[in-house]
Point group: C2
Chain length 360, copies 2
C-alpha cells in the first residue's frame, strides 16, 4: 500500500474514534495492517490526539521498521499489550476506547488494571472494521486480481476432476497453483467436498475419492497482495439426475435474486431475504443453513455480513460475497458463490465465471 493512503486512513479514524475518547487501543492484526502496514503476528497500536505508537515484540524489530508507516515504533519485551497500556497510563487519559471484539477478556482486564479505576473504558464495536468495509479503487483492483487468479486456478484444475481422485489431492493442486500464480497463500483451507460430503457447508478436503454421479463442491480463495478472494462452484461428475438439476437451478436463481437487490443503501438483510425467498418457494428454505454473504478484503470474512438479522446497510465500495446454498444431509449439497462490488446503481460482479452447472 502506498505511503499516502495509510496516514489518510489514520486521520479518518482519528476524526471519528477520538471524538468521545482520548485514546484508542487497537489489537486486531488486520486492522494494524490496514492502518500502519504491519504484517507480523504481534502488535498493539495506540492512537491519541497527539501520538500514534506501534508496540511490538523484539522479534519484529527489523520487520516493523521496514513495514510500519505513520506510527512511532516501540519494542517491548513479551506481549505488547502491557507495555502499550503502561505507556498510555502515563499520558493520563480519561476515556480509552478498545476493540471489544478483538481483545481477549484477559487483555481487557489487564488494560483496565494498568490504566486504573479512574479511566473509563469504552467498547468500540468494529470501528476500524467499518472503515475497512468500504474499499477504495486500489483495494477493489486487488480483490479483482485475487478473484481472477482464483477463477483461473479453478479452470486449470477442472481437467483433473474425475472419478478416483482424492479430494485432498485436488485441494493440494489448487493451493499449489495459486502460489505459482503469485498468491502468498490461500485465504482459507480449501474445500473440496464430494458426494454426501458436499452437504457439509464447510467440508474441508478429505482422503475421500471422487466417484461417478456425485456432486463436488469447490470453495477456494487466495491472498494476493494482501487481499482475499472467495469463490464456490459445484460440479457434477456424469449426467445429473433431475433432482440435482432442480436444486442447482434453485441455488442459481437464489444467487441471481440476491444480486438483483444489491445496491448502495439497501439493507443487508434484504439481500439475504431475496435469496431465501427463492429457496423457500421451492421448499428448500430449511436446507439453506447460513447467511447469504459477507464482506471480503484483508480478511476472508469481514463487514458487512449478509444474514437474516444483519443490521448493516450496504454502501458503495463494499465488496461482498453472494453464496446461497442448499445442503441435503446424507445426500449432497450445492453452493454457488460470486464476489460483487456494491455500486450506487447495483452489483458489479468480479467473478469472471458463469454460474451454469459444469458436468464432467
Amino acid at each position: 500500500m502506498s505511503g499516502r493512503i495509510l496516514p489518510a486512513r489514520l486521520a479518518r479514524l482519528r476524526r471519528t474514534a477520538l471524538r468521545r475518547a482520548d485514546a484508542l487501543v487497537l489489537t486486531h492484526l488486520p486492522n494494524l495492517l490496514y492502518l500502519v502496514g504491519f504484517r507480523g503476528s504481534s502488535g498493539v497500536l495506540v492512537l491519541t490526539r497527539s501520538h500514534c505508537v506501534f508496540f511490538t515484540h523484539g522479534i519484529y524489530r527489523t520487520q516493523a521498521r521496514q513495514e510500519v508507516v505513520g506510527a512511532q515504533i516501540k519494542i517491548v519485551e513479551g506481549d505488547p499489550l502491557p507495555g502499550a497500556s503502561r505507556w498510555l497510563a502515563r499520558k493520563r487519559p480519561r476515556r480509552v476506547a478498545y476493540e471489544a471484539d478483538h481483545l481477549s477478556a484477559a487483555g481487557f482486564h489487564q488494560l483496565a488494571h494498568i490504566l486504573g479505576a479512574n479511566v473509563e473504558l469504552q467498547a468500540t464495536e468494529l470501528c476500524v472494521d467499518q472503515l475497512r468495509a468500504v474499499k477504495d479503487a486500489d483495494e477493489i483492483a486487488r480483490i479483482r486480481a485475487s478473484v481472477e487468479l482464483t477463477a483461473r486456478v479453478f479452470e486449470e484444475i477442472l481437467p483433473l476432476v474425475r472419478p478416483g481422485v482424492r479430494e485432498l489431492d485436488l485441494a493440494a493442486e489448487i493451493e499449489y497453483r495459486m502460489k505459482q500464480h503469485g498468491a502468498c497463500s490461500q485465504s482459507f483451507e480449501t474445500i473440496v467436498a464430494s458426494g454426501a460430503r458436499s452437504a457439509l457447508p464447510h467440508g474441508r478436503a478429505s482422503r475421500k475419492r471422487l466417484r461417478e454421479n456425485e456432486l463436488v463442491m469447490f470453495d477456494l480463495g487466495a491472498i494476493l497482495a494482501d487481499y482475499c478472494s472467495d469463490m464456490t462452484r459445484t460440479v457434477f461428475l456424469g449426467k445429473p439426475p433431475a433432482k440435482v438439476l432442480r436444486i442447482y437451478r434453485a441455488v442459481q436463481d437464489a444467487l441471481a435474486a440476491a444480486r438483483e437487490v444489491v445496491r448502495a443503501g439497501v439493507e443487508a438483510s434484504r439481500v439475504d431475504a431475496a435469496a431465501r425467498r427463492v429457496l423457500a418457494k421451492r421448499s428448500l428454505g430449511r436446507y439453506f443453513v447460513h447467511g447469504t454473504g459477507h464482506g471480503v478484503g484483508l480478511e476472508i470474512h469481514e463487514e458487512p455480513r449478509l444474514g437474516r438479522d444483519s443490521p448493516a446497510r450496504l454502501k458503495a465500495g463494499n465488496v461482498i460475497t453472494l453464496e446461497p446454498g442448499v445442503y441435503l444431509p446424507g445426500v449432497g449439497g450445492v453452493r454457488i458463490e460470486d464476489v460483487v462490488v456494491v455500486r450506487k446503481t447495483g452489483a458489479e460482479t468480479l467473478t469472471p465465471l458463469g454460474t451454469e452447472l459444469i458436468c464432467l
Copy 2:
C-alpha cells in the same frame, strides 16, 4: 481420536475445573476438538456437574453429529455464545468459569450480562491448555508422524534449492508435498527467507530469488491427523565464510545446551537460559530475539512456553520445540529447530534430521 479418550479428558477436566465453579464455558476451538472432537469454526461447550452441552450454528448440524463425542448437541441461530449463556442462566449457577484468554471482551460482557449480576465470573487461565500440554502416547505418535512427514518433505525439496529459484516457489512445493504425503494442511505459513531476509525471524516466503553465497532459512510444519509439526533448518548456498560458520556453530551449540537441560521437573526458563548463555558467551546474545521454544500439539504454539520469564515447569509428556536463533539485521540469520518429548530422564528428539549445516 477414539471414543474413549475424549470422555476421559472431560472427566479429568470436571474434577479440576468444577472444584470451585458450578459451570465452565469453553470457547477455544482447539480445546473443543480436544474435549469433544469438533473440528468446525463455531461452537461453545458448557460443562456443569450434570451436563455437557455443545452449542453450534446450524451450518454445523450434520458435522457436529458426525464428530462430537460425549456432549449433547444444541443448534442455535447465529453466534452460539448468547444461546449457550441463556441455557446456562436457566440452570441458576452461582460461579461460572470462562476462558479469559480465549473469549473476547465483547463475549465476556455478553456472558456477564445474560448470566446477571448475581453470578460470579471466574477467569480461568489456560485450564484446558494446561491439560493439553501433557500428551498421551497416541498424541506423541501423531506428532512424531507429523514431524517425520515434515522432515521428509524438507529432504525432498533440497535438490530444488538453488540460485534463481523464488522463495515462494519453494514454499508452494513444500506445502504441496506435505499434502501429497497425507497432511491436511501446513501448520503455519511456510517460511523461506534467503539472504538478508533470513534475519527476519518470521520471514514469510516472498518473490525474492535465491542467490549464491546466501543463507536460506526454512521453517515448516504440517498438520497430520490433527497434530502439528514444526521444524527449522538453515542452509547455505555455496561455501560458507568463517562468519557464517561461527554463527551457525553457536546456534547449534545453543540447541544442544537447551536439549541437555530438558527433563521433567525442570523450569522452562532454565532451558531458555541454557540456550541464551551459549549465545551470550559468543557475543551473540542480543541477536537472539525470541524464546527458546513452545509446546506443539493441536496448535502450533501451545503450552508450555520456554522464554526468559516462563513460569512453567516441564512435565513428562510435554512436546516442545527447541529453536534458538541469531538474526543480524541487514546481514542474515540462522535458526535450527527440533521437536522433543520431555521424559523423566531427559529429552527425546522427534526430528529425524541432524543439525549440521547443509551447504548446497
